[in-house]
Assembly symmetry: C2
Homo-oligomer: 194 residues x 2
């Protein structure tokens, strides 16, 4: 269960974890199972935990006045999920985070994570690295969203996150790209002949 987390931290921090550091990290997290279709976070609730996905997948999305869902981001194994805004400001979230498969998570509270960053240099490094990576990824996504046609967005996704297409249904991919499912279907049809 915790091995996935240890591997992830060693990979991102570029360091090896000593046994005592593993202990510290292990005790800072709690295990949590969430079944397919159930929620890690609901709109209106304050986000209390950061979750590390050991197994399973998730989507973070909003629902607008017309009842349409917009997927802000996905989560897969070794990804972190939470609503940072709600977590930091202790405000009700405007997002849902739903698990798309039966999932196993390791969760930690914000104070817990802050404490752990002081106790474990590797964990601290990992968080820094991920924050940077996240910022760069988001900037690229903004670029895609404002500057690309539907077709370009799709082939960009194909190049960047090919695993998404195997793990998530097309209507969610469409929502993630800001397209209607029908438009995405037509794009894929054309793309085959190239």
């Amino acid at each position: 269960m915790y091995d996935a987390l240890f591997n992830h931290i060693e990979l991102k921090s570029g360091r090896t974890l000593a046994d005592n550091e593993r202990d510290v990290i292990m005790h800072a997290f709690h295990q949590k199972r969430i079944r397919k279709g159930e929620y890690f976070l609901r709109e209106g609730d304050v986000c209390k935990y950061i979750g590390f996905i050991v197994k399973g997948s998730a989507r973070m999305f909003t629902v607008d006045e017309k009842g349409h869902e917009h997927i802000i981001r996905f989560g897969l194994e070794s990804w972190w999920i939470s609503d940072h805004e709600s977590l930091v400001n202790l405000t009700p979230s405007t997002y849902f985070i739903e698990m798309l498969e039966d999932s196993e998570l390791l969760i930690i509270s914000l104070p817990g994570a802050r404490e752990l960053r002081h106790k474990s240099r590797c964990f601290n490094l990992t968080v820094s690295v991920l924050d940077k990576f996240q910022a760069i990824a988001m900037q690229k996504r903004i670029h895609a969203a404002i500057g690309m046609t539907a077709e370009e967005k799709y082939s960009d996704l194909l190049a960047t996150y090919p695993e998404f297409l195997e793990r998530f249904p097309m209507n969610m991919i469409a929502s993630y790209l800001g397209l209607s499912p029908e438009t995405l279907s037509r794009i894929r049809k054309n793309a085959i002949h190239k």
Copy 2:
């Protein structure tokens, strides 16, 4: 010149700067003036500095194959500019950063910034706070880009960054929102009657 920076750090970190800490910070930065229309960073160059805007404004944008410009973000007084991706990875940037007015900047290298984070607790706090703020703002922007109609994007901008409309020409606002200047013009025309 440095007062704007000190005020900004005190505001964001929520602490008061002691005189010796001001000295440390001051010596970590260099002054730089860039005239209207000139570049802080060019596509293909490696970004060497992080810039704090004391006076002036900037836009960060890409140019696609068709020659169209897409504005990723703006910069105003007390905002920071740089291409994080290029800065951290030492790779050629895919962005331009152009000053839109005669500007005064305080610049610092990445190693310089890292050193300063160790030397000044206030500066370190400021960077952390801004990173979080940035991440939240970018998530909102993604939400706007994939989930809102052109009209909603405009009124969202009106609510979030009203100062943009006074400081930047409409064709740039349009580019920032991912719209054509003509579409934005028509939206604004309709919006008056509401």
